[in-house]
Amino acid sequence: MSADPTDASEVSTEPVSTKSHTLGPVDQIPFGEGRAFGVDGEQVAVFRLRDGTLRALSAVCPHRGGPIADGTIDRQVVMCPLHQHAFSLETGCSSTGAEPLRTYSVQEDAEQNIVLEYPHIRGNSLA
């Protein structure tokens, strides 16, 4: 379900589309760490795994509001720094009993920029 970022704005029959946001050069995130970005008034934590691939999740821990971007990661999970709740980097699901984190599609473009697919909501038609 990957939308082509170029025609995302032309989709009008769907209540929801994704909108591409370029968050700047990828090397602002050190390998194995995360940084938080403000997108559409929401905060998104983007992680750069040690293999160079990117993952993006909502930046606020559903447990007690911990800063997810400050978490420790491996290839599968991020651990919130406050109470060590663990969340899958792929699905956002918690293996420690917390509510899940939202995940976003993210990749690096040809100019080494971070490109995030952020759900774009039209009007109020979506619950």
């Binding site: 194995g32 760490e33 940084r35 938080a36 509001g65 651990m79 406050l82 663990a86 009993g97």
Partner: protein, 838 residues
Amino acid sequence: MTSVLDRPQGRHAGAAARRRLVVVGNGMAGARAVEEILARRGADQFTITMFGDEPYGNYNRIMLSHVLSGEESDADIFLNALSWYRENSITLHAGVGVDRIDKFTKHVFSNDGRVTPYDTLIIATGSRSHMPPMDGLYTPGGSVKHGVFGFRTIDDTRRMVQHAQQEHHRRAVVIGGGLLGLEAAYGLKSHGIEVEVVHSGGHLMNAQMGPDGGAVLRRSVEALGIRVHTSSRTTAVLGTDRVTGVSLRDRDDIACDMVVVAAGIRPNVDVAVLSGLPVERAIVVDDRLRVQDEDDIYAVGECVQHRGEVYGLVAPLWEQAVVLANHVTGADTSAAYLGSRTATKLKVAGVDVASMGLHGPELDTDEHIVFSEPSRGVFKSIVVRDNKMVGATLLGDSRKVAYLTQAYDRGLPLPEERIALMFDVGGPGEDVGVAELDDGAQVCNCNGVSKKALVDAVKGGCTSVSGAMDATRAGKGCGSCKLLVKQVVEWAADGAVEEDPAASYYVPGIPLDKPALMTAIRKQGLRSVSQVFTALAPGSAEDAKSKMGLASLLKMMLADRYIDERDARFINDRVHANIQRDGTFSVVPQMKGGVTSVQQLRRIADVAEKHKVPLIKLTGGQRIDLLGIPKEDLPQVWADLDMPSGYAYGKSFRTVKTCVGKDFCRYGTGDSTKLGIEIESRFQGIESPAKLKLAVSGCPRNCAESLVKDVGVVAVEGGRWELYVGGAAGAHIRKGDLLATVDDPEEVKLLTGRFMQYYREQANWLERTYAFVPRVGIEHLRAVIVEDSEGIAAQLDAAMQASVDSYVDPWSERDDPLTPGQFRTSLPLTVLPQVPVR
């Protein structure tokens, strides 16, 4: 994409083919029996109808005392809300009593005029408060007098609370000094009511303990301000239209505004008697929980008599419900209930009480081990027969309950030193207690959760205590088992020492213990955390939980040869500050030995003012903590402070607390302040498996609390210094062990460094010295560190020196961030609830 849920069409069509199961009673026994039946696919076999006297769903009766005391609201104690009945297609007639059963035509007659046919019937009518004979209990009309209460139902409890909260009601008498009576007294006390307990027995809780235990309990109860009259029988309730007092036999009347009758319970057997079912003390059932001589009628809970026993506790009920469900559904027709050995573990009136088996010795050859400390409200009594435990009573200290219950239930062999039954002799023993526990042992007595069920939940991925509690409902009853639940989950999550080799791993992601891991790192010349994962982890997989421990270990082993990958660090170590609940950080500048100056104080004040620091707090380690600093401000705060880091965030050497010392103190015998500053200067920032807190006191008055520090130094007369290790006064309390007494402060520093290096090399990740020192033993430590029995002292000293030499103040990174965006905010845009500004 939308999808339509497929409904199995045959399900409702088959309704006619299903048999009719009717349950009389919607209390804990009835509802639990139905839950067990549903768990055995009973919904495929039966249409289920339930009758309940009370107009509610099913609630946890055990928790009524918490509702009375206001610790829980009545909404919190429901086990099955009305929606549960709907979801499981159960027809519930709430607030409808059953008058009679026709066992020949198989019909139930209820007091709303309804006649309900059944194929299988379950009677779970429970019990009611026993009203002992006395004058004035009832009005001439036959109802219980206004102001007199039983303590059995949620309505009883609500009415009692309402009555107690009326302004002019100030005094209550509770009749009955058993479990329920004391709970009622405690609950009423919390409403500010003056309470007196009148008990006909010779001592309190005589069903659960002997006279000595009862005397200690009485002391604890009286300390709460509750008056107790034992060996007193209430003869009358005084007052005409409302309660004004009670009369006692052979004693003065007691004036009061309300009377709570908690003088035991009686099984509800009226329906059974009227319907011609066999009733003795209660409804007689066989080992299948089937009513004697009836093929299709079962009974469960407090209303049954099984092999002559009638139970008034919740644990036997769970066992009965399982057997009953196995027979009703045919899931296991060989299941048999053989009776319960009742061990109770409760909190009564705020006092931990556990009781099982005999209260005292009965044969000449019985051993009786008794410990009594009435001033602390602690009493322990254990009866041993033929080297098996046959009874125990524990009051005020429930730490050994899990182990004792186990020993009682399974007849485990007992330690030769009987005192070990009562106390953990040396070392952290709690884990042993949990490890010893049998799989089948019940951890949560309210919801009948075994250790195995908890462990399975943990293995299934519920690695948090709350997750496992949610999954199993353990600890969701009276809550008295929460500590044990936590211990079991933690134990299960870390892996059992005997069963799970992972318990010996230094970090979870690398299957090696510490010596093997260090050897492998040395042999392969690994210098960074990612190299360790690549070379040693299964599948070369990184593991987030292992990173911090590996980073610390490599830094300790390699000092300046360590390749520092910042992602391996915990956030605190990436930004050299301690993360707080709202995502801000705390900044603690170094203040060696707790000694500061005018210049330092002025600078700290200026920084706090400039950065509008929300909270300035003195720490327990004699420093000043600036709390509520946003991450992005850290470099500027450090620059403005221009002081080195105090390391109040890492698994590392933290601080040296000192007393005033001999310069000013008129008692001081050694220059503790000077020595403390020197120790802190030498070992600042040293990484270790867990944090290290030190202290130096100038005399045995120990104002710096040296006896409860990881390393504590005490000056004694004659210019000598005592060195204690392995003390703690946080989550655990432990007095340190004396490692050595030396003449020279230089020797103190040398031995301190050598001990710390040995600890760094030998201790498990996150193992504090209070666990490490007893694990390896103080004699061993003394031999290695003081007497150099292994010939490694020089090596330890050299390794420590290398670490000391590689020290760099981490706050110097302020001018030149090590990674891009090192101090960039990760906080949400909307400001979270913050720590209040004082």
